[in-house]
Symmetry: C2
Subunit: 455 residues, 2 copies
């Protein structure tokens, strides 16, 4: 077992079963959990500093961890590591309504921050699907997105400044609390999305905006994929960006309907969900979106008049993950492609599903091109598992071939690591490792995530 | 004279007087221009690559340069350097209205991009005061802001991806054209604001948004600074952020009125200008802003009904720079402070002006706390010049003491270099130099800017 500094020994998880529960996250992998590791549940920044000081001195790998909702294996324990869980650093230190920011610990749950902002009449944008459980530290680590990104962008658009503990225990501050600031390099952006490979976020200063109105929903059913994509294009060209624009493809609709009757026709090609939250114009926008979708060829369009109807239209979307999981294990894809290539991408995934004999429902954030094909397979059937992983790689290669990226918002983690070089190329991979070395010269931070461990 | 690679010899400026005109930018410094340097006016990316390949091989300093509008001395030539001017790389390669971005060369003038976007019904946010002349490459290099940042943020909020030529001539790409992407570190943010110390931007992919409405203006006159700040606070708390919120202090008003009669009362303490461009709500917003400013204690409020009146209300603001320059030379400050400390900062500047016996009109982007005190002095009077530079440092130290930064949007350049360590501290300065070395190991990129030249 790795050794621990005296200060955090009382924070170590003693029970082996409990410890093992901290070895995994929400990702599906083919790798067994490690047997030799420690889990430290930090209570404050000094605990984090103590672990990073000790880890550097003893060259012990450190795996930073929040709520373990990563679908990319970014928070999984590795052999010989100290898992450094920061969920307990969950204080909302400040919500400054005048300057427009919140100062929070990395363990603050996304939804709790949203609620704290709302009670001050303000709004924090990023809303990963796991928003009721995922933490800000993980959101920062993966540059998390969510359903509202089509209008509100991703986590990096909302992070003003960070406090980060580095290997060796140094605390560094990045960014500015002021609205602008260009004194020196912008290291905030470098840390956002760095997946725990540079240091551990111990505090984040997050931008807040005036709150929008409560959203309303329209739902449109299409009997052809091309018509659905035409609808997406029409909405992208509207003068008022929707705050949500989701697609559910034929295969996803079938999965949802086999789980329960959510009113979708069995033979549709795709369903689009769209929302507006524009102050004073919600109903008007949603009606206009519905008309645009009808013009694009929707065979059925429903528009919510109130919050209850709005929620009812989302019901099918909300059970989707559960419906997929009822069908088998699921590799979660996270490719982001240009809007203009959405149809090519969805058709390409259909071809991969057929070629690999796996089921791949496609759903996701159509408005920003970030799709989440779900590769459903039978985990007890080695051949099914093999085919699923082959399809997993195929989907990423397809995404790259249409001008996309292998990961829009989940991160590379451990499960996409073999494909990162395909996107970045060897020169860029080498450069990024040299950058990492500026902060983590001994390569103790989250080794085996994002970049391969050096032989 | 530094040597040049054969390819760019025809692009070198032969005339010594013309060459000398490329040695300076819009900054005031106490440093004489260098005598030994070359100026290359690149015509394409290959020219840039050739210069950076040759410069690395010969360890020749390179000063990247656009329209030379820097007020911080970021584009000034240094002894023995090659000035690499990229103004001619001014092609707008693409305006993609569906994906929502433009692909441009670094020499594209900010206003030209705005016009190209507008003709596609789209909008590019950042609007430095020099927008009719400054170029995108320089905007990226300094993370430029402008008047609309209170609503639309700064350049980094609009840069999706970059192509950068590195020392040695390697072309690297950062970022993503897709809406999201977290494959590897975000190097786009690192290059934005790096002031030419890492490489030369050869192409930028810039986010475009649906265009807002044409803005209307309200102008409010205050007889106390506290009332003006109360007005700013009230507007910050409104549910709809203004797209412009400028302050002109007593001393600036006097300078404007001594230049011509723009209708300001001589005895006012401050003037605020505020605009809305919110689609469908411009007149309503501006009327509400005017009412908020009256409630905050404005002694006079004027509201524009149309574009012509709007422009008339801005007339005084527009001549302000000229009015200052009619009074003497001017050191342009660029401190950004918290909104809650604006009054303390303005009073502190008044005290500095008195202590140093210099005139310091304060104006700027009140809505985001980014103020531009102008230290007006007599360049032919050595004592006046000395006192101006002392005040220049005092203002930055004051800004830091109220939780601000030494530069909001102009950059450190050469004129603020001595104060960067005061803001960042020695450990952070050293770290940022190590980061620079990953891209520029021989320190040929813009030496003497941002960071001191090593002894």
């Amino acid at each position: 077992m790795p050794t621990l500094p005296q200060r955090v020994v009382p924070r170590a998880v003693a029970d082996p079963d409990v410890r093992l529960s901290y070895a995994v996250d929400a990702s599906v992998t083919r790798t067994a959990s490690p047997t030799d590791f420690e889990v430290v549940r930090a209570r404050d920044v000094d605990d984090v500093v103590a672990v990073l000081e000790h880890a550097q001195a003893t060259r012990t790998p450190v795996v930073p961890q929040g709520a373990r909702t990563s679908r990319a294996g970014g928070a999984r324990a590795s052999e010989g590591c100290i898992v450094l869980n920061v969920e307990a650093l969950d204080a909302i230190h400040d919500v400054d309504e005048l300057e427009g920011y919140a100062v929070v610990g990395p363990g603050v749950v996304n939804a709790d921050l949203k609620r704290a902002a709302a009670s001050a009449g303000l709004f924090y944008g990023p809303d990963p699907a796991s928003w009721e459980t995922c933490t800000i530290g993980g959101n920062v680590a993966t540059n998390a997105g969510g359903l509202c990104c089509v209008k509100y962008g991703v986590t990096s658009d909302w992070v003003k400044a960070l406090q980060v503990a580095l290997p060796g225990g140094e605390l560094m501050r990045t960014g500015h609390r002021t609205a602008k600031g260009v004194a020196g390099y912008d290291l905030t952006g470098l840390f956002v999305g760095s997946e725990g490979t540079l240091g551990v976020v111990t505090e984040a200063v997050l931008r807040l905006e005036p709150a929008p109105d409560a959203a309303l929903t329209a739902l449109a059913v299409f009997d052809s994929l091309d018509a659905a994509v035409a609808g997406i294009v029409a909405l992208r060209r509207d003068a008022h960006r929707p705050c949500l624009l989701e697609i559910i493809d034929r295969s996803s609709v079938l999965a949802i309907q086999s789980f329960g009757d959510f009113g979708f026709p069995d033979d549709c090609a795709a369903v689009l969900l769209v929302q507006s939250d524009r102050p004073g114009h919600v109903a008007e926008d949603v009606a206009r979106y519905a008309a645009l979708l009808a013009s694009a060829g929707a065979v059925d369009v429903a528009v919510a008049d109130d919050a209850q109807e709005s929620e009812a239209l989302l019901a099918g979307r909300r059970v989707m993950s559960t419906a997929f999981e009822a069908m088998g294990a699921r590799l979660a894809e996270d490719v982001c492609v240009p809007i203009g290539r959405l149809a090519d991408f969805v058709r390409g995934v259909e071809a991969i599903a057929e070629r690999r004999s796996v089921l791949i429902p496609v759903s996701g954030h159509a408005g920003d091109g970030n799709l989440h094909p779900s590769i459903v397979h039978d985990p007890s059937d080695a051949d099914s598992v093999d085919r699923a992983w082959q399809a997993f790689g195929d989907v990423m290669e397809l995404g790259l071939s249409v001008g996309g990226t292998i990961t829009g918002e989940h991160g590379v983690g451990s499960v996409k690591l073999p494909w990162l070089g395909l996107e970045l190329g060897p020169a860029e991979l080498a450069r990024q490792r040299r950058l990492k070395a500026v902060f983590d010269p001994l390569e103790i931070m989250n080794p085996g995530k994002v970049f391969a461990v050096e032989a």
